[in-house]
Subunit: 289 residues, 2 copies
């Protein structure tokens, strides 16, 4: 087991389980923040939230190959372990759990956790294997780290719903906290993928948060029909250079099924390719407030 400063690096599932069982035996609790690394302010906000609700914070750092499609950016996904470790330590992590791929998927591995409904919407449509990969690796992390609480960002809203559902369906006794989206000062939702953006693309990327704000204004002003709202959202995004809409959907915040007329809080979820970079953003909008 490596040691640097106050946080511990653990690389194997066996050592991680031993550490967690030791903590549990002392009657203490663990909060898990699962990440793929390359931390930005959003990740740090998850760690801060996690640190405050349990005795020990464990940050996992694993770029999970099974949640990337064949044509996605797994190989290129940005990495900087030393910087990430120092940041996690500075946020009070007791352990950074950073297994390699062979530790998580040994030869003969063949088990998946599959949801039948939630992945049929939004990102699941263009990323068919994505949520199976997420659900499986998170199930494994829950059994390895044994947290009482786990924190996920609301930016990956569909992922958060998938995790909530699998926790309920598989009877994990784990509290799932959703942490608010953290944004740059101009509104762009923070993402590890933002580093891919050229200066021009960076400007076009603002179309996502602008579209959320536009839709929120329309809904607050009494518009209940989704069609004109989505038309305005689409027009705004396509008015920016080099944007291609994967989806712009108004849907039920629980089931993620599309809605036509807004009568209760609604999720506006966006996925937009800016150049070659796929960005997502979302907001739950309450018509009554």
């Amino acid at each position: 087991m490596e040691r640097t400063g106050k946080a511990k690096i653990i690389r194997t599932t066996v050592q991680m389980q031993q550490w967690s069982e030791q903590v549990q035996k002392q009657g203490e609790t663990i909060c898990l923040v699962p990440t793929m690394g390359y931390f930005h302010q959003g990740h740090l906000s998850l760690m801060d939230a996690g640190k405050s609700v349990a005795d020990h914070l464990v940050v996992s750092l694993f770029v999970n190959p099974t949640q990337f499609g064949a044509n996605e950016d797994f190989g290129a996904y940005p990495k900087n372990f030393d910087r990430d470790f120092n940041l996690a330590e500075s946020r009070g992590a007791a352990v950074v759990f950073a297994p390699d791929s062979g530790e998580i998927y040994p030869p003969g591995f063949q088990t998946s956790v599959v949801l039948s409904e939630l992945p049929r919407n939004l990102c699941g449509l263009s990323r068919p294997v994505h949520f199976q990969g997420v659900a499986t690796v998170v199930t494994k992390l829950f059994n390895i780290v044994k947290p009482r609480i786990a924190v996920f960002g609301c930016k990956d809203y569909q992922q958060l719903q998938v995790i909530r559902q699998l926790v309920k369906d598989l009877n994990f006794n784990i509290i799932i906290m959703g942490a608010p989206i953290v944004r740059e000062v101009d509104g762009l939702a923070m993402s590890s993928r933002n580093v891919y953006l050229s200066p021009d693309e960076r400007k076009s990327a603002l179309s996502l948060s602008s579209a959320l704000t536009l839709a929120e204004r329309m809904i607050k002003q009494g518009e209940t029909r989704c069609k004109p709202i989505l038309a305005a959202v689409t027009a705004l995004i396509l008015d920016h250079r080099d944007t291609r809409i994967d989806y712009a959907t108004l849907c039920d915040p629980e089931t993620l099924n599309a809605v036509d007329t807004i009568t209760s809080p609604v999720l506006l979820a966006l996925a937009v390719k800016v150049g070659t970079t796929r960005l997502i953003d979302n907001r739950v909008i309450d018509p009554g407030q």
Copy 2:
């Protein structure tokens, strides 16, 4: 929480988890014996094995609808809760966990645990949804009961392998014990489904254990080619009245992939319909011994 004698009946997942967490806090261990009830000597042997290896024995009793196919005997599966409860209590169970179907599969349930390789063999071929149902409900039971050890019968050999694999793949820190097949004095493997057999069918049912013994003799005498062994096994079974072979397979005991030539221990697995009752049996045969 109902109470009868020394064993406790628990019906809800929340109460079961609370009980298990209380036990764990005291540093004590739980052994789980998952069953579908209607106990015979085989079940009792699992309980005896389980009782001896942990501080507390929990017997779950749940006829799991999702592991039955549309044309299988879910509705007719034999039941006798009071007798089962008394038997489990007499074998030292601390808890009989007997949830109803709605407790295990509440509205909106949508998560499954799926293995990609092991179910492609043997029973998985004629029962395509069976092991997905088994893997999912066992994953749930592990999270609800939180055992350190779980006992499964070797009679459901493929099930045992599926459970071992999912425990490894999903990082459950649970020891899986396989308990030997328990047989009637004439050799018939005990099964809750044996009650379906008419007196004539009961005689034909002996063809399974006879076939295992025949194959074992051939292998011990030096036969290494699977073809003549399976021909003899098939002839023996079909020589009995009202038998229909679902499969008779010699395969690798780990992967369950069929083998042609026997060079190391091999599993002979049988599934035979006797009248309308589907029976299974198996034996691992070591050519070297």
